[in-house]
Symmetry: D2
């Protein structure tokens, strides 16, 4: 109940903090027989890790996974897949300010309230470094999905007021996404975003954005009626990621100002499909066979290199200057995290759907 | 795994369809000792039920709950609370068109794909009548929350392009919400919304909108790190309701174009709080003690009294005219449903938080 | 977490007490497409209900189930199956003694300790009447199992010191079991048991016994390694029934005095099987394809028509004479309850096994 | 659903096999604030590990746990406790016989049936080495229980036909248990058991036995009515351990031949308790405040140094001689495993009981 497990049939459990020895991840419920090795995890881990941009290209060894179990002679064997990530050497150093003051936008205060104290070293359990586990598990999920011709892809849709115009989300390719360090697939827009991020950094500030995620090849029938609708589980999965403040699918918030006659997607034959996809691939919370398209809003990085007003643990007013290097924009590294969570939800519901009918 | 249970410690399980004998609801995990009777369920059920507007005020007996268990001598006794709702007499009638044709915007096609066939009578399990169970369970949750001085309230924020300006969501009262059949607390805006809904109905169409939900009095520390963040569980809860296409909290999608320096909420003392609430009462997915504020986008009713293009079950192109009376706008009746789901999440996390620390 | 749901993929949730309006049962996760009607539930419910013996043959209407949902046009439709059982008219009478004194062997004291008070009318939630729900759900499970040629059957193995000698548990038929009101399939032993029970009743006492349960046709491969071994889930299922104080399978407690060379079951070919079945059909907690055979020990009825020493709620020493008619031996009616729990475990693991391998 | 997680509020998830890199264990739900270090895990791990007897006393480094997370400045911090156990150097050697032939009494055949293939190196996931994780998690649970003055202790009750006479299980001390390598607290009986085990080993055979487990100090009120009775969860926990074929509590199977008048435990005052404890500390599946006493039957080690008849994977008849050193009797090392599972169930229900009543 303490919230460190995700999924019902394909279950991911994680432990670890950013400034301890490292992270553990256990994936339970992966069917036996999947070809899998550590190499399958590396590409998405590389997309997730810090220091990817042209400015910081050196490899960060700390993201190298070790697989402890679950694979035998190159195939998953039905037993849980155990993975660890050793943290690099941490400065055993001086966390003074963070220790006794609450960083605005962070969970420092809420952790103290919840547990009575907190691991103040670099965010502890709330550090986004925790997503290494999610991305590794997501890579396994993606490989299972690929066997069923389901592909999950994300990209940066918006940074600040720069918005990419992508009329057909299903036409975007991984190559287009990876062509720019921003992970926006439209090169002109990507350049604009890059300039904006640079400007924001120079300004000792940060900037928010939005990520769009697309799954193609999802068969109709995934998702359970009532509480475990596919849309609900996707929403939960993505909102569980750090910094996400909103989730929408299909037409999303735009439906608030639409009429039924313009919003309804009409059915056509051969094979049965809808002409439009304002329903984002889900009707009644169950996949329709149309592409699943959703978007999430991500706040600007809370850690900015400016002095900010706050209070101490004992409630005294003070100022805080958060040290360390922080991404001025979370969006580029968010893409593989979002894909991972979408993939985890889809494989879980795919396995669940095996009990929908008599065989 | 079939998705008809919600919650971890305060668990709601439901069964039933709109055109069968009725609905069953089992609430498991309600602590013993709460004063409770069927009267506690009636106000929110009345807000949820069809036919409330000035045009149709007669009582619909079918929403009368019967409590089977879980209360002894006026108090909850720790055993599961069983509730049933008997459906009124259903026309055993002719569902011809719905039976063989897929209604646009509905789950007809996706149910057929999932189960191989479906209950075609009035939507079956996907009927929004299923929310009687949620609203009844939510009323129990609200009563438990009230003991801890936590109040949950929702209202209609937007219908079509009419948007209510509500600078302080915590100042809205239940009386203001209930003053208008639209459940918009600003009377002038409510009147505009009412006119718009009337116009849409005359036009044989429907209209979408947005609902805002507010919880005040939530102590800091609710929500679990990583996967079961409070924001994630709220998102899932609300996205599990019919017709919801988006969820956001605090500044929501607006953060996509914000800078960290304008988005961060700064801390102040006596007692510790933030000056602003762009974080919507949750930091790191854990409640901060500030009001929890979120919004959901609701699509226009899919059933509109117009002929629409579709296909038959066997894949032939055809047209369909969905009969029966349908709300031209779902928003007014959505409010108690949204409140119920928010209350269910909060009570669940309140009970979960009892294990956070050593006693 | 309050323990009123059983199963992971085939989930049964119940509510109700013996002296309230009745019981609700929701079965979630039954695959769509199973022919099912209320008639399928009646035979096992008849085997379970009180008053079956020659002495009391009148039909007890209170055990008539009403199905609220989950079946459409004679088939399960994938949505939850809701069932209710209306209790008969209860004497609104005088529970005085039970109200304020703790019955030996019952849960009166432990309920008070847990919840602060209790429903003292006839046992409340601890009444064995609760098993109507289990037996109904078990009947659905049995029907699903029958499609896979899996049969579950129980019988009375022991009453007091009278023990039936049944060298081949798989050869016992339902007809043999039902031939005697004792549900012991060996007629001579059954007669002895009947005499013993009669004698015990005349003596204003009760007597314990043991029930053996057998599943044939279970394919190899059901059960999960480590925590959710099939033996563990069977043990839990049967120990969750009232009055069960022990569970063993295969050679059971006899293994404590055996040597490996006599206990190991050796494998033979065509098809692969073991020559003997001391492992009770489970190796490493996973079904081996051999018959699953287990036994449970059931205590003598705690309610006996004698005055017994006890204490009042306030801790005063006193005596209690429990009124009402009670079975002098629980065994005959236990058989369908035990079968139901075994069937629920098997169908749950059968559905779970669908995710063991890649398709 | 693949069964590698135990518990609801205090959750243990494990991964690993005996001949891979090692084991991972994640404990989720430990309340914050408990003093904990790796030293707290070592005593029980030492009691569990192979090679403890006078014949083999050298330390097996492979059982040294590494704690990755969940402890900050010497106290649990509410986040999941990650633990790893690195396996020692494994002979990368020749598993020929085990690879293609099914060992009698082992899960080789059932794993192949379930997953299509199996890790044949030393038992893979079914190796009892998996219990290192359980014992480590159990040590944490024991420490939490100790804060509430609850003590869990096990001992060897029976080996073959040698049975210890222990009239008062609550009087046994850890020192008495640890005084003999057999873990039987009665020294004369322990000596007999030791002789028997020696004789069995000389005879190239193995021998079964029974372990008794006792919890004192458990407050009344733990356990949930109906499905999650404390007795049911204890039964599941203990039956999930390798080689356990039976579970009983209190009077256990002896109740089958008892009368109600001799079995009922009568209540006495000051404070309320029962004069006898045939109910083993649980009434209606809920703890009564009396000591919880249960026993499990453990089969003789399946691996015996004799040639045994079996079949190959392809179904050919053959013989197999299982190599390697194996305990001739599992009982002495079982004790800490049984204690661990009992402790895990008790702490889980203790946390669950925090939601039983209104605060």
């Amino acid at each position: 109940m303490a919230g460190n497990t995700f999924g019902k049939l394909f279950r991911v459990t994680t432990a670890g903090v950013s400034h301890g020895p490292g992270y553990l991840c256990i994936i339970d419920g992966c069917p036996a027989g999947l070809d899998l090795s550590v190499e399958d995890l590396l590409p998405d881990l590389a997309r997730r890790k810090p220091g990817q941009s042209k400015l910081t290209t050196q490899r960060d060894e700390a993201d190298l996974p070790e697989i402890w179990s679950g694979i035998f002679e190159g195939k998953t064997d039905g037993t849980p897949i155990g993975i660890s990530f050793r943290n690099g050497d941490q400065r055993s150093g001086d966390y003074g300010d963070i220790k006794d003051k609450y960083r605005p936008g962070h969970a420092d205060y809420t952790f103290d309230a919840k547990y009575g104290f907190r691991d103040y070293r670099g965010g502890g359990r709330t550090s986004a470094r925790e997503t290494v586990c999610r991305v590794a598990a997501g890579a396994v999920a993606k490989k299972l999905l690929a066997r069923e011709n389901i592909r999950v892809l994300g990209y940066v849709k918006q940074v600040g007021s720069v918005i990419a115009d992508i009329p057909d989300p299903t036409a975007v390719t991984l190559e287009q996404v990876e062509a720019s360090p921003t992970r926006c697939p439209i090169s002109a827009t990507a350049a604009e975003m890059e300039s904006l991020i640079d400007a924001v950094r120079m300004d000792r500030d940060s900037i928010g954005g939005a990520c769009e995620l697309v799954a193609v090849g999802v068969p109709p029938g995934l998702g359970e009626p009532v509480f475990d609708k596919l849309k609900a589980d996707l929403g939960k999965a993505l909102l569980s990621l750090p910094a996400v403040l909103g989730f929408e699918y299909g037409a999303g918030f735009a439906v608030a100002s639409m009429r039924g006659s313009e919003n309804n997607d009409l059915f056509s034959p051969n094979p049965i499909h809808t002409d439009t996809n304002r329903h984002g691939g889900m009707l009644g919370g169950i996949s329709s066979g149309m592409p699943i398209v959703c978007r999430v809003a991500i706040k600007p990085t809370s850690s900015i290199p400016r002095s900010q007003k706050t209070v101490t643990r004992s409630g005294e007013p003070t100022d805080i200057l958060v040290r360390g290097r922080h991404d001025p924009c979370l969006l580029p590294r968010f893409v593989p995290m979002g894909e991972a969570m979408m993939a985890l939800v889809l494989i879980d519901h795919l396995l669940r759907s095996r009990s929908s009918k008599l065989k």
